[in-house]
C-alpha cells in the first residue's frame, strides 16, 4: 500500500502553465497601456479641487461615479433582500446561548463608543480616510457585537425599514433636484467653494450623499448579520 499521498502533477502543471500565460498577457497589457490611462488620476485630482472636497476618493465615488454608487447600493439592497428571503423563519425562537456576564457588560459599554466612531467616520468621509461604506460597516459591527452577546437583542424591523426607505428615497431625490437645477443627475447644486475646502460644511451635496450611503449600508449590513445569526430551532 502506498502511504505517500500522490501529487496531482497534471493539475499542478496545468495551474503553473495558466499562471505563466496570465502573467505574460498582463505584462504585455501593462507595457502597452495608453498614457491617457496613466494620467487620468492626476486629471481627476485637479478636477477634484473644483468640488471643494479634500478627499479625492470620496469625490470619485460619490460625484464622478455617483450614479454607479446608486447602482451599487441597489445591489447591496438586493443581496440583503435575498438573504432575508432565504433565511426567513416564522419560528420566533433562536438557539443563541446565554453569554457570560463580562461579555454582556463589556459589549453594552462598547456599543455606544463603536457607534460614535462609525458615525464619525461617516460624517468626516469627505475630509479624512473613510466614508459611508466604512462607517456603515463599523455600525453593523457594533450591532453584531450586541447580537452575539445579548440573547434577547433584536434590531427592530420597523426602524430598519424606515432608515432604508429614507436613505434610498433621499439619494434619488437629491439626484433629481440636481437634474432640475443643473441639468445633470446628481449635480452639485449646493454651494461648494474651494475656499471652504477642509471644513466640515464644504463640498455641497457630496458629504450629504455619503452620510445617506452610510445610513443605507449600516442598516442593510445590520439586517444581513441578524438574518445570518437568527436560526430555526430544529437545525
Amino acid at each position: 500500500m502506498n502511504l505517500k499521498r500522490e501529487l496531482p502533477t497534471t493539475t499542478l502543471s496545468g495551474f503553473a502553465l495558466s499562471g505563466l500565460l496570465v502573467l505574460t498577457i498582463l505584462n504585455i497589457l501593462l507595457q502597452n497601456m495608453p498614457t491617457k490611462i496613466q494620467t487620468a488620476g492626476d486629471a481627476l485630482l485637479k478636477l477634484n479641487a473644483t468640488e471643494g472636497v479634500a478627499n479625492a476618493v470620496t469625490t470619485v465615488v460619490v460625484f464622478f461615479r455617483g450614479f454607479d454608487t446608486l447602482g451599487e447600493i441597489a445591489v447591496l439592497f438586493i443581496a440583503s433582500l435575498g438573504i432575508g428571503l432565504m433565511l426567513h423563519s416564522n419560528a420566533k425562537c433562536n438557539i443563541k446561548v446565554e453569554s457570560n456576564f463580562m461579555l454582556q457588560t463589556a459589549s453594552t459599554l462598547l456599543f455606544p463608543i463603536i457607534l460614535l466612531f462609525g458615525v464619525y467616520v461617516m460624517i468626516y468621509g469627505h475630509l479624512s480616510p473613510g466614508g459611508g461604506f466604512q462607517g456603515g460597516v463599523i455600525i453593523a459591527s457594533a450591532v453584531l457585537l450586541l447580537l452575539i452577546s445579548h440573547k434577547e437583542f433584536e434590531v427592530p424591523h420597523s426602524v430598519i425599514v424606515a432608515l432604508e426607505t429614507f436613505a434610498g428615497v433621499s439619494y434619488v431625490l437629491i439626484g433629481l433636484i440636481g437634474l432640475f437645477v443643473l441639468d445633470t443627475f446628481l449635480g452639485n447644486f449646493l454651494p461648494h467653494d474651494i475656499s471652504q475646502m477642509g471644513l466640515l460644511l464644504s463640498g455641497g451635496i457630496i458629504p450629504i450623499i455619503y452620510i445617506i450611503v452610510g445610513i443605507k449600508v449600516g442598516s442593510e449590513m445590520s439586517m444581513i448579520v441578524q438574518n445570518l445569526i437568527k436560526r430555526d430551532h430544529d437545525v
Binding site: 493539475t11 502573467l23 476618493v57 470619485v60 461615479r65 443581496a79 461604506f133
Partner: protein
C-alpha cells in the same frame, strides 16, 4: 540591501506575482474542494488577490494619500484615486455576493443536510 526593492519595477513585479499566486490558491480551492462553504471562501480569496493587484500596481514610492489640504497640494505625488474608488465598489459587491452565496449554502444544508457538491443530485430526477 532594501534599495533594490525601492524600484517601481521590482515592486510591481512582486505585487503582480504575489497576487497571481493568491489568485491561483483561490482557483485551486475552487476547483478541488467539495464543501460549498469552502468554495465560497475560495472565491473570496480570488477577489482579495484582485484588490491587492489593483492597489499595488498604482503605488508610487514616497507618495501620499489623495487628500488635498493646505499642506499637501502636490498632485503629482499623490496616489491615483480611481483604483481606490473602484476597489471600494468591488469590496462591497464581493461582500454582498459572498453573504448571499453563504446564505444559499445554509438554506441548502437545512433542506438536505448536505454540503458536498458531489452528492447533489436533486435536479437529476
Amino acid at each position: 540591501m532594501f534599495e533594490f526593492f525601492n524600484q517601481p519595477e521590482v515592486i510591481k513585479t512582486i505585487v503582480t506575482i504575489g497576487s497571481m499566486m493568491l489568485f491561483f490558491v483561490g482557483l485551486f480551492g475552487l476547483l478541488t474542494r467539495k464543501n460549498l462553504i469552502k468554495i465560497f471562501i475560495s472565491v473570496a480569496i480570488m477577489e482579495t488577490s484582485i484588490f491587492l493587484l489593483f492597489i499595488g500596481l498604482t503605488f508610487k514610492i514616497d507618495s501620499i494619500a489623495p487628500i488635498l489640504d493646505s499642506a499637501h497640494t502636490d498632485v503629482a505625488m499623490m496616489n491615483d484615486p480611481i483604483p481606490h474608488a473602484m476597489i471600494l465598489t468591488a469590496i462591497v459587491i464581493g461582500m454582498a455576493v459572498l453573504a448571499l452565496g453563504v446564505s444559499f449554502a445554509i438554506e441548502y444544508f437545512k433542506l438536505t443536510g448536505n454540503t458536498d457538491i458531489d452528492k447533489m443530485n436533486e435536479m437529476r430526477h
